[in-house]
Amino acid sequence: MKDRGIWRGIVIALFLTFMIVPFLATVLFSISVRWDRTIFPEGLTLEWWERVTSRSAFETTLTNSLIVSLVTMFALALLVTPTAYWAHIRVPRGKPFIEFLTIIPFGIPGVVLALALIRFYSEVPLPLINTPNILVAACMVIALPFMYRPVANALDAVDIHTLTEAAQSLGAGWRQTLWRVILPNIMPGVIGGCLLVFSTVFAEFTLTNLLVGARFKTFPIYLVEFTRFDGRQASALAVISFVIAWLTSLLIIWIAGRGGRPAESLGAR
């Protein structure tokens, strides 16, 4: 039995090394004077952090990413939560159609979604194409499953029929029932979904690059530009992206530990 324990230790140690070394190396690289000739960094410095964060583009791109992520998050929460509740309580036969629409995004590569949206909306006279509006719509599509699954799981986990009947027999209308009775009960699912949407959209590169390009630069676009001409400043931006992703994910896990578990996910590839 003992050698089996050793086998397990080795597998877990190798996995941890593979998952953590890239992150730690990037952190160390961002505070190294130079780290491309020797095994250890040639001195430590905060110069790259100061330089990259003092540019005006740093603040602009960070703000742009925050705006897109937050707008997508709230729009999806407003669209998905009432729909999921309504389907659960009144139109269960609508659920397969809803689920179909939430599976489609898994099957559409980002580049194809961007192309499809450009093809259709460049012919339609709406203020969408080449604006952040189309980016938000596209991000809503790719993040749709991340919002729907946790909310649907949360709805499955509580007895919404009894809650709804109780609320309505006490005279509550539909809006009041959803807002005052159902929502507090499914809050962990809604918040988990929101955070998953936030971290997915914040890291989004493909759709932004193809749909709005240089017109509306987000943080990942800024990062990729830097990887091409200054690796050390890029490393500081990469660390910021990593930390934001870690923090939102840890928050999701922490909330999930207290309520329903969010579904597995496919992020921004």
């Binding site: 099957g107 499809a116 990887t227």
Partner: protein, 287 residues
Amino acid sequence: MRNANSPKRITTWLAWLGLAPFFLFGIAFEIIPVLTLARSSLTAQDALTLSNFERALSPMFVESFRNSIQLSAATAFLGVVFGTLVAHAIVTTRNQFVRDAITALADVTTNFGGAPLAFAFIVILGSTGVVTLILQALGVKLYPTTFRIYSIQGLMVAYLYFQLPLMILLVIPSLLGLRREWREAAINLGASPTQYWLRVALPILAPSLLGGFLLLFANAFGAYATAWTLTGPDVNLVTVQIAALVRGEVQLDPALADALAMLSLLVMTICVAGYQWLGGRARKGAR
């Protein structure tokens, strides 16, 4: 579940209206754009034709499909094998903290990808990366011939970073579904541990493993940001080609991009539909 019987038929009809905003969104931003794409991929000079697909099957694009399929299959296969191994180590460990911590790590890292991930791999495995330097000191010279991070091999390493955790998360529920009694029963009946794995456990796990393979395959096939940051236009992948056509970097041939996009949608649809079907089977099997 609820009684949607005759006296309530009209209200049921009205109830569907409550779902209208969601369906409108899905139709406007998923269904119609994709159908537009399909139509324009099948149209040339206002006539129905397959000529766009003929051009999409020129050697350069065939190679891009070959590269994408190889990259996706290799990282999906390695992801399934090593992901299942790590997941097995996690579910059988008696240390609750290790189990929770690694599951949390997989949860966090499966959402990674794109630019920061690609950059992190340049830092450790680029031509002057730290692992490259350490290996050099040990006498293993990666560059310029043995290994390059800015190539398909490099992409394989980077893709595994998000494939492994995804597989771990997908397979843990199935591994937890393997009952201890089944193993004991097999051993009591004289099976060796290897026989138990080959004859009992793997057949039970097969739908989950195959489903995991398909989802990982789709995950890698549709990936673009990581490849673009790491290798730019140097590696010929389907998504890289489509993106170049969308940005108009190559010649202006929109219908060609549409045909490539439809072909990659076909690959993705097969994978995701297969995953859904196997997922249903795996859930039924677990009961």
